[in-house]
């Protein structure tokens, strides 16, 4: 009993760690796609900013500086995306893919050129990272059965970015649904003509949205390399951007359901790691690949009928043009 409780606690703990970059990226996706811009480049922006965060932190010794550098890098990638598909009305999927390919190649090339470590950046010392924060009264609380332990092991003891990701969800929800900016952002993704004729610049709205998305992706990247990890490793985003995209669709472009989708996908991955090499009764050993595929399979299956139709923003993927 006690042992299985420990297992659950540690599963939940790693769920949160795994879900954090997903949450940042999925919120970024919501900002971008709610404004009508498909953001398949979440993956690339995260990878790029992970690299830049690690490099800048290594060079300056300050994780804060690394974090801002990461955000800057990710926003630049967003601007490239915007220039291609907002200003020049290019295909959003192609542009996003290009960013992913660019990020994948650029990080390795620059990594080798700068550090000659096969694409990795040097390991960061613990004072160069965002380290876990322990909450107050931990010792007293740990005596409270179940709840106390939950608090100590699962809620407390993460780095600042983990808590920031939760804040990002509420930030996203609040901005999108409760502010004037959010109303216009949703309108621009549904029917840009309505926004344009209301005297609001569609182009400006969309650039603002993708810049916010860039910032959030920057946080995700920084989390990977200077908070959760201690340096950059090649391809370290490992498809998380795509999973975040799936989580966003799963959550129907709504922040709160998307948060839960991210947690679910995080949990599945944590479970996959946990079950590696473990013999299950009746089933036997589950191949790792099955667990890795689960988020995608789940998204397809659930979207196909269990949670109702996910309706994408009406004008998504369509460049806005007045004359035609």
């Amino acid at each position: 009993m006690l042992e299985s409780f420990q297992i659950i606690i540690s599963l939940l703990d790693s769920t949160i760690r795994i879900a954090t970059p997903l949450i940042f990226c999925a919120m970024a996706g919501i900002f971008s796609e709610r404004s009508g811009i498909i953001d398949i480049g979440l993956e690339g922006k995260m990878l790029l900013s992970a690299f830049v965060a690690a490099t800048a932190t290594f060079l300056t010794g300050s994780p804060i500086f690394g974090l801002f550098a990461a955000i800057l890098a990710s926003c630049s990638a967003s601007l490239i995306h915007g220039f291609a598909c907002i200003t020049n009305k290019g295909d959003q999927v192609i542009s996003g893919l290009a960013i992913n390919i660019l990020a994948s190649g650029l990080t390795i090339t620059l990594g080798i050129a700068l550090f000659s470590r096969g694409g990795q950046t040097p390991s960061l010392a613990s004072e160069q990272r965002f380290m876990p924060i322990d909450f107050a009264f931990l010792d007293q609380l740990s005596f409270v059965p179940v709840l106390g332990e939950l608090f100590v092991e699962v809620i407390s003891g993460h780095n600042i970015l983990v808590y920031l990701s939760v804040l990002a969800v509420f930030f996203t929800y609040y901005v999108i649904f409760k502010t004037r900016f959010g109303l216009r952002l949703r309108a621009v993704g549904e029917k840009p003509e309505a926004v344009d004729t209301a005297g609001i610049s569609v182009i400006k709205m969309r650039y603002q949205s993708i810049l916010i998305a860039g910032m959030l992706c920057g946080l995700a990247g920084a989390y990977l390399s200077i908070a959760h990890g201690a340096g950059f490793g090649r391809e370290m985003s490992a498809g998380k951007g795509y999973i975040a995209l799936a989580a966003m669709i799963f959550g129907k472009w709504n922040p709160i359901p998307t948060l839960f989708a991210c947690l679910l996908f995080g949990f599945l991955e944590a479970l996959g790691v946990r079950l590696e090499g473990v013999e299950l009764i009746w089933i036997g050993e589950v191949p790792v690949q099955v667990m890795q595929a689960l988020p995608y399979v789940l998204t397809v299956v659930l979207l196909a009928g269990f949670i109702g139709k996910a309706r994408a923003p009406g004008a998504i993927g369509v460049p806005y043009s007045k004359e035609g």
């Binding site: 502010t179 029917k191 344009d196 009406g314």
Partner: protein
């Protein structure tokens, strides 16, 4: 916080008494799109507090001109004066600030938003929605009472009828302090009753000093509501009239540039035996809604049966089933004594074999492949015909011979078989589709919206062709949202509302108001 209403410019407009002062003056406006000249040297004056009509055929440049006034397009040349002052309207934001509001032909509403959210978009009153909402709602309610703009603020736009959507558009403009209101083809989607309601609103706006520009191709509306009217043709204003001193005939003549016959001579013809019998046909859409409920009627040789109704009341689905695009789910259809039962193999190829030809409602989606050449489009659907092939391959010479005659006989301009159909005007595209279907010598012709987006000259021609076909004994089923068209062409009219036939009448003793009532589902006959 931006509160447009309190800007000085509007106050100046509001304080002007309705007089001979012009609210709007356009001077020498020219606008080109690539090589196409949409507006050429246009001059226009509209007096404050009046309703000014702009008529013209499709492509005459009416919408372009208004989009320039609203700041959506930048003119290549020319000046805009508001209340005698030169202004630079370079964006909708600017024009809104200057007190110009526009209700576009295709509504600029976000379908997933509520009425309130749509009405406040762009003038939300506050950074945060909640605090702005209260304030804006109060102002909107005031406007709504003031002008009889009845709306339900909580409803989601996609669930509301088009009439209400239009009122939301007007509210939206007024909420931003519009003193000049441009309406682009506002009645196209309305029932006659809704049109009357709209005109009442426009009159009360005029009484309170709002200047209104009404763009339309319906001459009757121009006559009934405007004070002055300008006619546009080929990108130019060709004539200005005071409405009281002109007539529909004169306007039509100026629109087309030659005399037009507005009335239709119906051949007197005895109708023959029924060729199409529809019995208890019902149809369930993918969403599980019954879009057709127990539809029964028959259609006889040499008869034109008109189906009136507001768009979206099952007419399209009925056409789809009869033309073989949709399978028959319930009921039965008898065509020339051959009966089709539910879930029987029924497709458009079969329909053609049974003698049914179909001019679809949406010629861009279903009537033509726009990038195809005229000669390809003219045999679309009949490409399997032996006349056009020689064994395995298409016989291009035979096709070209056929098409050269076709464009000649049906006056498709330009008379070329090798121009892509997308380059033709709406009217000529429609003539091409109609020509193709008539040339197949059908027993039954299904026609959907024959004159949608078609200019007057072409309309005249299309009506003529339909009448010729009728006198040959072909049975014609005519679906149209233009009530005038239904009334002047049909021998008999059935009215559809929410998937049922709510009334039937012969065209000679029908009045527009009666049919309008049936269309709105208020009255069952």
């Amino acid at each position: 916080m931006k509160n447009i209403e309190n800007k000085g410019g509007n106050e100046a407009i509001a304080s002007l008494p309705p007089s001979n002062k012009s609210a709007i003056e356009l001077k020498n406006i020219t606008k080109k799109f690539g090589y196409v000249v949409a507006n050429s040297d246009v001059n226009l004056k509209v007096r404050t507090g009046t309703i000014h009509g702009i008529v013209g055929e499709n492509g005459a440049g009416k919408s372009t001109l208004m989009n320039i006034l609203f700041g959506l397009y930048k003119p290549d040349n020319g000046m805009i004066f508001l209340n005698g002052q030169a202004v630079d309207v370079n964006s909708p934001e600017k024009s809104i600030a200057l007190g110009i509001g526009m209700v576009h032909q295709h509504f600029m509403l976000v379908p997933t938003f509520t009425v309130l959210e749509n009405a406040m978009l762009g003038n939300e009153g506050s950074m945060l929605l909640k605090s702005g909402e209260k304030f804006v709602l109060e102002r909107l309610k005031g406007l709504s009472n003031n002008y009889g703009l009845n709306v339900n603020f909580e409803a989601i736009i996609s669930d509301t009828p088009v009439g209400m959507q239009q009122r939301v558009e007007i509210l939206k403009a007024l909420n931003r302090g519009a003193k000049i209101l441009i309406l682009d083809e506002p009645t196209g989607v309305l029932t006659p009753q809704e049109t009357i309601g709209l005109f009442d609103i426009l009159r009360s706006l005029r009484e309170q000093g709002v200047t209104i520009i009404l763009i339309t191709h319906k001459l009757k509306e121009i006559m009934s509501i405007t004070d002055t009217v300008s006619v546009m043709r080929g990108g130019k204003v060709v004539a200005d009239f005071s409405t009281a001193e002109t007539s529909p005939e004169e306007l039509a003549e100026n629109m087309v540039g030659r005399k037009v016959l507005l009335s239709i001579k119906k051949p007197t013809l005895k109708v023959g035996k029924p060729v199409l019998e529809v019995k208890n046909v019902s149809h369930e859409s993918k969403d599980g809604v019954f879009v057709l409920k127990n539809i029964s009627f028959d259609l006889k040789e040499g008869e034109i049966l008109g189906i009136a109704g507001v768009a979206g009341n099952g007419q399209s689905e009925l056409l789809d089933i009869l033309s073989g695009i949709e399978t028959l789910q319930r009921g039965q259809i008898t065509i020339n004594d051959k009966t089709i039962l539910p879930h029987q193999d029924w497709n458009s190829k079969k329909a053609r074999e049974f003698g049914i030809a179909h001019v679809p409602e949406d010629r861009h989606k279903r009537g033509l492949v726009l990038p195809f050449f005229n000669y390809e489009n003219s045999i679309l659907g009949y490409h399997g015909n032996e006349d056009y092939s020689n064994g395995l391959l298409m016989d291009k010479r035979k096709i070209l011979n056929f098409v050269d005659d076709l464009v000649e006989n049906f006056d498709v301009r330009p008379r070329s078989s090798s121009i892509s159909s997308g380059k033709l005007s709406g009217g000529n595209q429609q003539k091409l589709v109609l020509a193709r279907e008539i040339e197949s010598s059908p027993n039954i012709l299904l026609v959907g919206q024959p004159t949608r987006g078609v200019d007057i000259g072409a309309i005249e021609r299309i009506y003529e062709d339909l009448m010729k076909l009728k006198s040959r004994g072909t049975a014609i089923l005519l679906v149209s949202v233009e009530l005038d068209e239904i009334m002047s062409l049909s021998d008999r009219i059935i009215v559809m509302n929410q998937g049922t036939i709510v009334g039937e009448t012969s065209s000679s003793n029908a009045t527009e108001l009666e049919i309008g009532k049936m269309m709105s589902g208020l009255e069952q006959v």
